[in-house]
Symmetry: C2
Subunit: 234 residues, 2 copies
DNA sequence: TGTACATCAGTGAACGCGCGTTCACTGATGTAC
DNA sequence: TGTACATCAGTGAACGCGCGTTCACTGATGTAC
């Protein structure tokens, strides 16, 4: 009962080809306009063939979202782990930089997971949550490391919101252990970083271009100045 | 040649009724799914009747965007002007609070103007720019007032990006006079505020609820701490 | 090596749907005399 | 006050389109003997 060899020579991995084509279309016409028939057309197959790989359109979207979170999380952890664990500030900086870089590299993916939700599509929570929690867990882990090193300055930071206690409980299963205060601070850091990045990506104002680098670095410095105490230049 | 009285008793102002219905539909099914036929159905008229008020679907969307910017700008200036001009910090605080409040009051409007752009729709720049510049000009004017009072702390702030010089030139026609540095700082402030608000609105994480107030106040305090010097409590 | 058979990825026709937009029209409303 | 006329907001039918999804099918591929 060995697995059957591929039959289609042109598209050895149709499942992947479908997703790649979907991303290209999302980049061109936006996620809401994603169309199975258009994907099939571009791939030179007929639309029903897609149903051999995804039960329906929503399942394809879900797969795209999970892939995006996974790719994003990979980039986050790769950046974090490129700096020695002892250098907590360096890790915070690297993770923050990586956040923007990934968003600039894959703006469509970024918009799909963090932008306006798709109309008529509700992401199945149980399916997407693990990859989402893992991805956002990188920043949490870095903040937690700052706290564990006794260098988190958050005395005046507002208490985490009650509604988050439950989410935080689930978080621990996928995103790793962290004190509540670390999660709270991470939410604010995430919001700041997301703000700059989404403004830069959305295209509602002129692109930041190279100078976006300087603005972004300034913002990361401001975050470190505000939330980290002790020698900040390693 | 006096204007003709209304003929339709049920809908004395159909143009407005169309826009209101459009907003309701955007709230329910998202802006990309906005449909003239669905609007007509809800209003009890036929779809072609809409063409007496808007030349096509895009024109309706443009009108909605302009209305949203206008409403947003009104709220911004109302908040700003509720504080005496001499109290520059109070004005910054009031404008910042108003930003979030308007977004929470009208999340669909907020998403339409600041969220992911609509696929296949390109806002006609000349039509939307004035209301957009005016609306965002409120924050700029407040930062400029801080600067004019000699209290803007922005020595280490990165220079404004070259691509913005042109945009800034146009800005002055609609958003008012301001030094380049004030615009630069305003962009960052806007990005921070937008980050928190869009995270809160998008629904990708649990809602902040009442505790969002505390987090938002913290963020405004942080901005004032960072960018304003002198006695900050008036 | 050769033949009969099972698998199953992809096809092509068809379904019902909602969409934006056009067009000739109608009939109530208002105006001119 | 009464009548003929002009206006024009809204109608209803129709267009061509693309969509997601179903279904019976086909025919190349692989397997068993």
């Amino acid at each position: 009962m060995s697995p059957r060899p591929r039959r289609n020579q042109q598209q050895p991995n149709l499942q992947e080809a479908i997703k790649e084509t979907a991303w290209r279309q999302i980049a061109e016409t936006g996620a809401p306009a994603l169309s199975l028939r258009a994907i099939a057309r571009e791939l030179g197959i007929t639309a029903p063939a897609i149903y051999n790989y995804f039960p329906d359109r929503d399942a394809l979207v879900t797969a795209l979202i999970i892939d995006a979170y996974t790719s994003f999380g990979d980039a986050q952890f790769l950046a974090r782990d490129s700096v020695p664990a002892a250098d907590v500030v360096g890790r915070l900086r690297a993770t923050g930089r990586s956040y923007r870089q990934w968003a600039l590299d894959y703006p469509q993916r970024y918009q799909l997971i963090f932008g306006t939700p798709l109309a008529g599509y509700a992401a199945p929570f149980e399916q997407t949550f693990p990859s989402a929690a893992r991805a956002l867990g990188a920043i949490v882990s870095v903040v937690e490391a700052v706290r564990a090193a006794g260098r988190l300055r958050a005395e005046s930071f507002p208490q985490v919101m009650p509604g988050y206690e439950q989410a935080f409980g689930m978080w621990k299963n996928y995103g790793g252990e962290a004190e509540t205060i670390s999660l709270s601070v991470a939410v604010l850091i995430w919001a700041r970083v997301h703000g700059l990045v989404s403004v830069e990506i959305a295209g509602n104002i002129p692109p930041f271009g190279v100078n976006g680098d300087a603005l972004y670095e300034y913002e990361i410095d401001a975050l470190i100045r505000e939330f980290v105490q002790g020698e900040n230049h390693v």
